[in-house]
């Protein structure tokens, strides 16, 4: 069912991390790649993000981190996604993520981590090839 449908992505920040320059750049790049991107901004809580994923019927949820809260909030997001049966949504994480956190995040259920410095082509191609619905 991957063809003939516009890819819908939600990009958001979670918790108290107040830097969203990177997230906004990613939003622009995905838009330029032909995707429809809902940007939720900063200071969002887990339940708010999950309701947005449900309401918008998103294909992809992208979490952006700078200040090191990825190990705190990501498992909460994963738990709520499971509870809401959102297993057909591709969960990706981006931002300033220490290398040693990557296996931890992947073990939690994140499908792919894109660290700062990733090329836009990498994550665009990854999304296009891996959306699940």
């Amino acid at each position: 069912m991957k063809n003939n449908k516009q890819i819908k992505v939600i990009i958001t920040k979670v918790g108290l991390d107040g830097h969203d320059r990177g997230a906004k750049i990613v939003v622009s790049l995905l838009k330029e790649a032909g995707m429809e991107v809902v940007y939720l901004g900063m200071f969002n809580q887990v339940e708010d993000i999950i309701q947005a994923v449900v309401d918008e019927d998103a294909d992809v949820l992208g979490l952006s981190y700078l200040s090191g809260e990825q190990l705190i909030f990501t498992p909460k997001i994963v738990k709520e996604m499971k509870k809401n049966e959102l297993n057909d949504v591709l969960l990706i994480v981006g931002g300033t993520i220490p290398v040693e956190d990557i296996p931890l995040l992947e073990e939690m259920g994140v499908e792919r981590v894109f660290r700062a410095g990733s090329l836009s082509g990498e994550f665009i191609e990854y999304i296009e090839k891996n959306i699940k619905k």
Binding site: K8, G34, V38, Y39, L40, A52, D55, D57
Partner: protein, 328 residues
Amino acid sequence: MTENNIDEMVQKILDGDRRMLARAITLVENSRKGHRNIMKQVYPHTGKAMIVGVTGAGGAGKSTLTDILIGKFRKMGKTVGVVLVDPSSPFTGGAMLGDRIRMKKHARDKGVYIRSIASRGAMGGLSRATYDIIRIIEAFGVDIVIVETLGTGQDEIDIIHLVHTCLVVFTPGMGDDIQAMKAGILEIADLIIMNKADLEGAEAFIRHLQSAVTTANIPVGAWTPKVLPSVCVSDKPANIKGHDEIIKGIYEHFDFLNKSKALDKIRFQRLELELGLILKDELQNLIFKGLKGTGLKKKYITSIIGGENDPYSVVREILDNYVLHRKK
């Protein structure tokens, strides 16, 4: 998606399953298989909600105003569906849907369903998908549907065919009395909102708009648009004002429509337009499907490029040969 699945999907939507609602909207948005069946089944459950449109130039404060209005309706115990339209890039097809970010207060409220959609070009797709999306949200069972359009300029009147009450949002500094006198505003606005009314120039612009309303040749018995000030954002919460009056205006207009039987007229006009749009789409699909594999479409286009033919003659020929002829 099989027919059985569609039956189940529609039943779940009627039972208030917002996940199924979201999926059905995607399906309709992408004109996937099952679209027609969904609409057929949803249709008997529509027509109950009050539909409010919010339009105006980009940056006028449509989303922030919508956010406040959602809150007011919720306080009245009403459930609300919201459709937010933002523009698609005509070059890449991509879109940044940035209205939902203004509605964080309602992010977790189960009495509010918010959906962001991209305009996807001007080929009629927007109007038809938006019609259908409103219908599905109505069937889901909300009391109010708010439709926020993309930032409009002048002469974008599609919205009046979609809604009962249309709010057009202005801000100070958007023009002088000449702008206020131009066609396009009074024709679509039931309520004219002077947003950011705490900024310099608001009072003068309100007077210009008011005077445009007063001098307009509004037929006897027709609704006279109201000009209402609004402040949505301020350092001091006490300065945020105007919204109870806007809600009151929306209900006054809706009552007016009911009492004056204008609702029936609006319904008729809306269906006339909708029928035309669906007919156009379905006919085009049918004809292109018929031409598939014949190589004729390519031949026609090449002949137009080559200067031997023109689009009008080609369409006439297609109609003569494949539509009118077949009926004989």
